[in-house]
Structure formats: C-alpha cells, structure tokens
C-alpha cells in the first residue's frame, strides 16, 4: 500500500470545501431572471379537487404564473413511474394507480401538490399561494395497512381493488410446510418495522432552466443518480428529449435513498421553466421534506421458525404486509420483495423458507428505499426471531446462532441469493470478545444491585450490496440495468480525471476513488480528480444507492484503469525500447524490470498526446472507458452486540457498550468506512429507540417536524467499538463488498434484543421509547 493507496486512512479531499462552507449545492445556483416556485399542497389525506381559483393570486405583484395539475395533464407530461415490475402469486401484474405530478382530480396524501405558484421571489410565491383557493371535497382516508385491507375500506385507486398492489411470494411453500410438520419446536413472532423519514440534511431542491433558442433544458437537482433522472424525465415524462436535457447533481447533502427518485417537484420545475420562459427554482423546506420525501420501512410481519430437537433450524415462514403509501414510488415494489425476502436466510442454514408479501396502498406519503431498503426489515425480523427462539429454547443466543451458521461457501439459500463468501464465526467471536460476553452475567448482577436493568443483545446480519447482475435483475422485473461505468482521462501532463457514473452525496468518493488510482499508479491523490454528477460530463451511469459505488463503480474504475495501463505500457515500452511484458508501474514511473530504465507517467501521457512517436497503428490519446456488470451481489456481513441499561423508573435506556465486527471485504479507506458505519449505526439505533412516523386516523402526519419526530443526536449514541474480520469478495477485482448500509441494517435488532433481555418482556415495538419500555416493564 502506498501512503495514499488502498487501505490508507487518507483525510477526505472534499471536506475542506464542505467544512468551510464552500460546497456548491442546488440552492446555491442563481440564474439571471430566476423565478421561485411554491407548491400548494393538500391539507387532506384524501379528497377530490373540485376547483382551483387562482384569479386573486394572479393579480398580486411579482406573480408569474399559477400552474395546476390539469395543465400538466393537458401538456401530456407522463405520470410518475415505478421501475420494477412485480408479479403476484396468481401471475397477475402489480396494480399501479396513476400518479400525476400534480393532482388534477384526487389527492391521496397530506402534502400532495395540486398547483404551483411561480413568482419573482420566494416570499411573493408564498404570499400568492395563500390567495389561491382550492375547493376540496373530503373523502374518508385509510392511514394504516390494517384499516386499508379491511373489507369495505375506502379505495384509493380503481386499478387496485382492496387497496392491494400485489400479493407476492418466494420460496417453497410445500417444503416449508413439511419442515414445520417435523419440528420439535416452533417459535412465532409478530412485529412491526416502523416507518421512518429519511431526513437528509439538505432538503430536496431543483433549479430548471429552459433555453428557447437551443430548445435545451438544464436541471440542477438533488439527485443520487442524475443519469437515471435524465432517462426518466425524457423517456417517461416526455418533458425533454435526452440529448436536449442536462441534469446536474452538484454537491448533495445526504440522500439515504430519498434522492434516488424523480419527484413531482423536480418534474414540475423543469416543465414550468419552459412554460414561464424563465429559470425556476424550488427549494423544499423541512416541513415539505417530512411530507413528501419518500418514507422508509413500514412493515407488519408474522414469522414462524421451526427447529429440530438439536436446535437446528428446519424452516421459516413469513407473512409481511408492506405499506406503500398513496402511490408507487420509483423502486418501491422491489424493496419488500427482492431486497427483503431474499435476505431472510440471514447467516443461517435454513433448509426451507416461504415468504409472502402483500403490498398495500394507504393515504400516506409514498414509501421507498431508505438506507438498507428491505434488508434492515429482513435482518430485524430474523435477528429478533433468533433471540426469541433462544429464550424459548433456553439456549444462549450466541450458541443458537453458531449452531445454525452457514460455514460452507458458496452457499445457495432457498430464496435466490448465492452467498459467495463469509466467515460468520469470525465476526461473532470478535464481537463477543470485544464486549466481554462471558463477563456479562456478573455485570448484570452488579447493575441489578444498583437498581438498573441490564441487557445484552446480538444481531448477526448479512446483506446484499451492489445489486446485480443486470441480466438477473432484469429477469426479476427491474426496468434498468445495474452495471456501472468509468472513464479515465490521463491528461497530457499526467494528471488524471476519473469520470464515474456513481454520485457522491457524503460518501467520500472523491477520496476513496482517487486512492484506487493512487494504488495502481503510485501517484498522489492530489493528482487525481473525480468527476461525477453531470450528464454532460460523465458517460451514462446508474448512480449511488444500495452500497454499490465501490463494489460496482470501483470495479468499473479498475477495468478502465487496466485499459489505460495496457496502452501506457505499450507507449512506455516503445519509448524505452523494451518489451511490453517487462514494464512495471511503480511510484508513477514505468520501469523496465531489472534495469534502471524508466519513464515517468507525465512523459508517457505527453507522448500519447503529442503522438510524435507512438507504436505503429496506435491511436493518440490516453483515455479509456469501461462498463462493468458484476456477476453477483456482494454480501457484507457482521455481528453487532449491544449492552445497555434500562432505568425501571422511567423506561429510559442508556448504552453501556456497542460493538460491531463487520466484514466488508477489502477496505479502501478505513476512516471513511468507520464514518459510514457510525452513520449507519446511528440510523439503526435511531429506528430502534427514537424515530417513528405517526399518522392519526385521518391521515394527518403527527410527526411532521423535529419537535415530534425524534432524530438521534450525538448524546443519544454510545461510543462505538468497531472492528473488521475480512474475507475478500471473490466477485470483483477490488475484493470489496460495500459498507454504506450495514450499520442501519444490523443495529436495530441488537438494541431491541438488549432491551427485551433487560426487562424480561419480549413484547416491544420500535421505537422503544421510554414510555413504551416503561409500559413493557410495568404492564
């Protein structure tokens, strides 16, 4: 490893600009003649829009236009799409209701836009919005899955009878039934996976600029995947053809999945910029983020696990109802199916699995992928199940897990996934050692003497990152390919630009990707710049989500580098009059092995561009592109153990210790990995203890601000003890697996298992607020 190569904890290059306020975000974009959009949103969860009177607003100073849902329909702007087709058990396709960018007739969740005011300033737009009169006829609403599937419940979409989008299954029902018939013990568990608001630090924003002379659009937007945004905006929403649309996602302040989707507001801004003939800016505020950013999770599940007399798992049966909200968001359909049920084998040998998933419409904000996307739901269910089973079977929870761990790889689960590699014993052993698992009973006894209830909880997660290969996801219903691209430009003076189709919105790509180049060429990372987030600069790419950037995007960089190196070696060999096979690259030099002959990278690059003396037939230039389609998912896995105390007087939990032993394959920058794990753990712990969306019975969002929606703060969290047990991923050239979501996937079960252990009552839902814990203790 070079000082700045793979494995070095290099300080992040991008942080100077972020921490000195020099980041350039969408809201920083200011264009001449720019107007401001303010959306008029439904205060009702379900209502007919009977009329919109904007006459008074249009007379107000500075008001440019009031545009409505009907106009967007009249202009033939396409409805929002869902990019993954799921087929129900009975072979029928999923039942998708229409979602126009602004509602022309019916609103189905609080916050859905019905019209937009465009004005000279933001404040004038807000003033005018108050003067627009919308005539609503309120309809009954259903705010939760149980009410939505009741016979006679109000129907959201005519396309989806009974409010059911699909009733899907996976696994072998008969084999699972058979497994249960042979069981010595059956453990059952019912649980809810609470709905979350992503709450990226930067709210969503868009600046749209239509150039009438060129018939060309530019959209600056808070996106995790600008190329996908361009594709969808052109191919499905008919707003602009791809070659006349440039999408720029500049610095973006966090996404967690919520900025994958192409939302109504971005569509409307783009459409409106042509209509009003001026640039349009929309910057969401925090209240709009609560109401309209796709929410995450929201499952109700029932699970049963069958064990033989030696505590070996025989089978698992799961039935899950997933709340989709009022519309199908872009990847919503894949989350509780192929990103959830396919992970239900966890780290265990489970010979038979059968899972059913019913997707349900409700009058709430649409739900989609949020950090972990389906895998936290699977992991939470399975890891609470293991703990519940251990208590019921009266065995140590660590022992029960070890008894059932998968130890032979590759391992084909009964639910599609083929795990390539792992070492689950290594991670649980490392975590148990780090927390002194053996010493826990003594610590518990001492805490008891102090009037505190102490508990310990484990969670052994496995997840799937870098969703791929394209052919496989295509056969499962995906509307896109899931490869990644990279272009490497070695400039004439030897500096290097890496263009990647992934997008960094906090992950540190500008550093980690540069380290890959530094490792291979031996150049300092200051010589390398990473270019991303602009469809005019970067070749097509699929963006960043599902911890795919290093496993798929990083691999594409390696592939492109291999091509660059091959050509550069030819040039070097030619210049040094040596054989190409004798050329090695060290510290930025191309050397002839066993001699002192060498040529530095800048000279090779210069030779490539002057083209005065290239090998016969070689094209000038030193620039290569690669598209990389993985052969499989990657499978990060690990063991988390949480030790905490509960105050019986108040039900408040305080952490004593939290240890994580993760296997992410090779670490490119351990410091960045650590940061990713910290953030993920914070979100997993947030879900377990603090965060939870609450709607009232009429579909009003109760947790609509930080006054009621509890985000984890630094002092809510313990000081994490992290470690790594490494098996290199055999599926990609870097041996990497991805680390962006693991913490959020594994943490919540560890926390809840620890609390239920402490209080001796397994009936506890997330978020385990002090009130809930106190009631679980005292009844």
């Amino acid at each position: 490893m070079g000082v700045e190569g793979i494995g070095a904890s290099v300080v992040r290059k991008e942080d100077r600009r972020f921490i000195t306020g020099k980041g350039r975000y969408v809201d920083d974009v200011k264009l001449v003649g720019m107007t401001y959009a303010h959306f008029i949103r439904s205060p009702h969860a379900h209502a007919k829009v009977k009329g919109i009177d904007s006459s008074a607003a249009l007379k107000m100073p500075g008001v440019v236009a009031v545009l409505t849902g009907q106009q967007i329909v009249d202009d033939k702007v396409g409805n929002l799409i869902c990019g993954w087709a799921i087929t129900s058990k009975d072979g029928s396709p999923m039942k998708m209701g229409a979602w126009p960018a602004m509602a022309p007739e019916t609103v189905r969740f609080v916050g859905q836009a019905v019209a937009v005011v465009i004005a000279d300033t933001k404040n004038l737009a807000k003033d005018a919005a108050e003067a627009v009169v919308v005539d609503y006829e309120e309809l009954p609403a259903v705010a939760d899955v149980r009410s939505a599937i009741k016979p006679g419940a109000v129907q959201l979409h005519p396309e989806a009878p009974g409010n059911i989008i699909y009733d899907w299954h996976i696994g072998d029902e008969a084999a699972t039934k058979d497994a249960f018939s042979k069981a010595a013990n059956v453990v059952t568990l019912e649980l809810t996976n609470n709905r979350l608001v992503p709450n990226a630090m930067e709210p969503r924003a868009a600046v749209a600029d239509y150039d009438a002379a060129e018939e060309h659009y530019t959209l600056w937007t808070t996106s995790q995947n600008p190329h996908v945004a361009r594709l969808v905006l052109s191919a499905f929403y008919n707003i602009a053809p791809e070659h006349k649309l440039r999408v720029i996602a500049p610095d973006v302040g966090g996404g967690f999945g919520s900025k994958i989707y192409i939302y109504p507001e971005e569509m409307v801004a783009l459409w409106a910029s042509k209509k009003v003939g001026r640039p349009v800016k929309w910057t969401g505020d925090r209240s709009e983020a609560f109401l309209t950013d796709a929410h995450g999770r929201d499952h109700i599940s029932k699970a049963e696990m069958a064990f033989d007399k030696d505590n070996k798992i025989l089978g698992l049966r799961v039935k899950t109802h997933a709340n989709f909200g009022a519309y199908m968001s872009l990847f919503s359909s894949a989350v509780p199916t192929y990103l959830y049920a396919t992970l239900l084998s966890g780290q265990y040998v489970i010979p038979a699995i059968y899972a059913e998933v019913v997707a349900v419409y409700t009058n709430t904000t649409p739900v989609d992928a949020y950090r972990g996307a389906g895998r936290p739901e699977a992991s939470y269910l399975l890891e609470r199940m293991m703990e519940t089973a251990a208590r019921q079977l009266k065995v140590d929870p660590a022992e029960l897990r070890k008894t059932n761990f998968i130890t032979q790889f590759p391992y084909q689960t009964p639910v599609i996934m083929a795990y390539d590699i792992g070492n689950f014993h290594a991670s649980i052993d490392a975590a148990m050692k780090a927390i002194d698992y053996a010493g826990f009973p003594a610590r518990k006894a001492k805490a008891k003497a102090d009037g505190k209830l102490r508990g310990i909880g484990l969670s052994c997660y496995i997840e799937a990152c870098g969703i791929a290969p394209s052919k496989a996801v295509g056969s499962l219903g995906a509307g896109v390919g899931l490869w990644e691209s990279a272009e490497i430009r070695v400039n004439p003076v030897g500096t290097i630009e890496v263009l990647t189709g992934t997008h960094s919105h906090g992950q540190g790509h500008e550093t980690a990707f540069a380290q890959i180049i530094s490792e291979r060429l031996g150049v300092p990372i200051s010589q390398v710049s990473i270019v991303h987030g602009d469809t005019d600069k970067v070749q097509f790419g699929m963006g960043t989500y599902g911890s795919r950037s290093i496993a798929v995007g990083g691999a594409a960089i390696v592939k492109a580098m291999e091509k660059v190196e091959a050509k550069a070696k030819k040039i070097a060999a030619h210049a040094l009059e040596a054989s190409e096979s004798d050329i090695v690259i060290e510290n930025g030099e191309f050397k002839v092995t066993g001699t002192d002959k060498s040529i530095a990278l800048p000279m090779v690059a210069l030779a490539a561009y002057t083209a005065h003396n290239l090998p016969d037939g070689m094209e000038p230039g030193l620039k290569e592109t690669a598209f990389y389609d993985p052969t499989n998912f990657t499978f990060p896995a690990g063991a988390y153990i949480c030790e905490l105390e509960v105050d019986p007087g108040t039900g408040k939990t305080s952490f004593v210790n939290f240890v994580a032993a993760d296997d992410f394959g090779r670490l490119i920058n351990p410091m960045i990995v650590e940061g990713q794990v910290h953030g993920g753990l914070a979100q997993g712990i947030g879900q377990a203890l603090l965060e939870g969306v609450v709607y009232d019975g009429t579909g009003q969002l109760v947790t609509a601000s930080f006054m009621d929606y509890s985000m984890p703060r630094a002092d809510d969290l313990p000081s994490f003890k992290l470690s790594h047990t490494t098996t290199l991923c055999p599926g990609n050239p870097l041996g990497v697996k991805g680390c962006g979501e693991a913490g959020a996937i594994g943490a919540s079960a560890a926390v809840i298992n620890a609390i239920t252990d402490a209080i001796g009552n397994n009936k506890l839902e997330m978020p385990a607020t002090p009130d809930r814990v106190w009631h679980a203790i005292h009844g």
């Binding site: 404040n123 807000k126 209240s287 007087g649 108040t650 039900g651 408040k652 203890l689 603090l690 609450v694 109760v702 947790t703 930080f706 006054m707 009621d708 929606y709 509890s710 985000m711 809510d716 607020t769 002090p770 009130d771 106190w774 009631h775 005292h778």
Partner: protein, 266 residues
C-alpha cells in the same frame, strides 16, 4: 415570514410606547419562540419590539431576601451565575438544561414565562419557588401568574421586567426530556423554604399547564426524602397524553422526577 417593522427599544418605557403605537405589536426577546413561529407564517406581527438590548432588563441582582433576575436575562447567564448557583442551585441547574447552547445563549426568562409553554422549564421553578413576576405595571405572585396552556396573567403590552426569587433552603429540579424536542416531557421542581414550607411544581404533565402537586408537597412536608414518595399516588386524570408519553406514564414521571429532584436538592 411576513413583512414586519423592527424596533430596538432603549428602555422599558420606550418599548411600551412603541408597542402601543403598532397595530399588532409583539415583544421580541431571545426570539427562540417568536422567530420560528414567524418564519412558519404562523404569526404576523405588524411591529416587533426588541427588549433584549434594554440595559435595565439584563442582569442578576442579589437582594435582601433572595435574588432578582431581570426579564431579558438569558438562560446561559442564569445557569452560569455564581449568585444563582449559590442561592438557588436548582434554578441554575434548570437553566442549564433548557434546549441547547444556541437556545440558552439567546432565550430569556421573561420570554419563557410570557410564553408559558406547558413543556417549558422556567414556569416550574417560578411556581415552586414562590417567585414574584415584576412587570412595568405591577407585581404578580407566581400562584396568580400561570393561567393554563400558553396563557398568563399578563395584559396586552405588559412587559416582564424581572422575576424575584425568595431565598430558599433547598431546591432541586429533575427533568425528563421529550426525546424529540428536548423540552420537558415531564419535569419537577421541589423547593423548601427556610421556614419549612414545601412547594412542588410539575411541568409538561398536566393538561392545564404547570401545576403544583399537592400529594407530593404534603409527603415531603412530613418527610423530606425521596423514599417518602415511594407510595405516593399521582393521578393520571387530567394529564397530557401524546405520542411521547401517555397520561399514566406522565403521572409516574411526576413521582419519579420528584424523587430525583429531592435527591438533587439534598
């Protein structure tokens, strides 16, 4: 935010006069309540009269029988004041657990009391310590000041110029924070006067705002110790109930926080 006219008052009289002139005036102190409400367009004062630069309204003055805190004194200054820490340690501690540092640097005692948020901290101290609220027109005993949720005895245009706290033998505060807002989910202030009178006030608990807790006062009058409250029953009826805390949970917290406040008071 709607347009408004800002006035920086130089004296209490100046502030009162400016207030009277405006069509729909509001006083501004730390702005930690008023400004967020204005930004969300939930308040639209024609005139905003800033009290926070009036010299006479800032400071902490030891008096013959206690301590006087001027109306625009920040939470931070109260928390850090050695006079308050010495005379009424429970009060200094209370100020130190309001909101976060940014809120404490700007928010003021007068603003907090005038607002009388049911989950605010100061009202519990003012009520338990039997303080007197001084205004530009009169003095109001604590027992007469708080009138339910967000309601006080203040008349339109009346300015809290100071709050006067009598000496106390013991004072303690225990706050159970709302996990989201960090206001009091339920908090209890216990105080014992030099003559042995015990007053206990709970914030964040009752549907009618800050309240005295008779059952706990009498138990502590007999026996000033946490264990004296082991079997005290606090009724859940009339308690607030929301997603953060049900009524029975809050009733429990009143007792448990009172015990912890007694321990803190020593």
């Amino acid at each position: 935010m709607y347009e408004t006219t800002y006035h920086r008052a130089s004296s209490v009289d100046d502030a009162a006069a400016a207030f009277a002139k405006g069509k729909d005036s509001k006083f501004l102190a730390g702005g930690q309540t008023l400004l967020p409400v204005m930004k969300q367009r939930l308040a639209a004062p024609s005139d905003v009269i800033d009290l926070s630069k009036i010299k006479d309204m800032i400071g902490i003055v030891p008096t013959n029988n206690g301590i006087e805190i001027k109306g625009a004194t920040t939470h931070y200054d109260v928390a850090e004041s050695s006079d308050v820490q010495k005379a009424i340690p429970g009060l200094a501690y209370l100020a130190s657990v309001i909101g976060d540092p940014a809120v404490r640097y700007r928010g003021t005692i007068g603003g907090s009391l005038a607002n009388n948020d049911p989950a605010a901290d100061y009202p519990a101290a003012v009520l338990a310590l039997n303080a007197t609220v001084k205004t530009n027109k009169r003095t109001i005993p604590a027992d007469d000041f708080f009138k339910g949720l967000f309601a006080t005895a203040l008349e339109d245009g009346e300015i809290i110029t100071a709050v006067s706290f009598p000496v106390t033998a013991k004072s303690g505060y225990a706050k159970f924070r709302n996990p989201a807002s960090r206001f009091a989910l339920t908090a209890v202030f216990v105080a014992r006067s030099p003559s042995g009178e015990v007053r206990v006030a709970a914030a964040g608990a009752s549907q009618s705002g800050v309240m005295r807790v008779g059952a706990i006062e009498s138990a502590l009058t007999t026996n000033w110790s946490a264990s004296a409250l082991d079997n005290v029953k606090v009724s859940a009826s009339g308690m607030l109930s929301d997603i953060h805390g049900t009524a029975d949970y809050r009733a429990n917290l009143v007792r448990v926080m009172a015990q912890r406040a007694v321990i803190a008071a020593g």
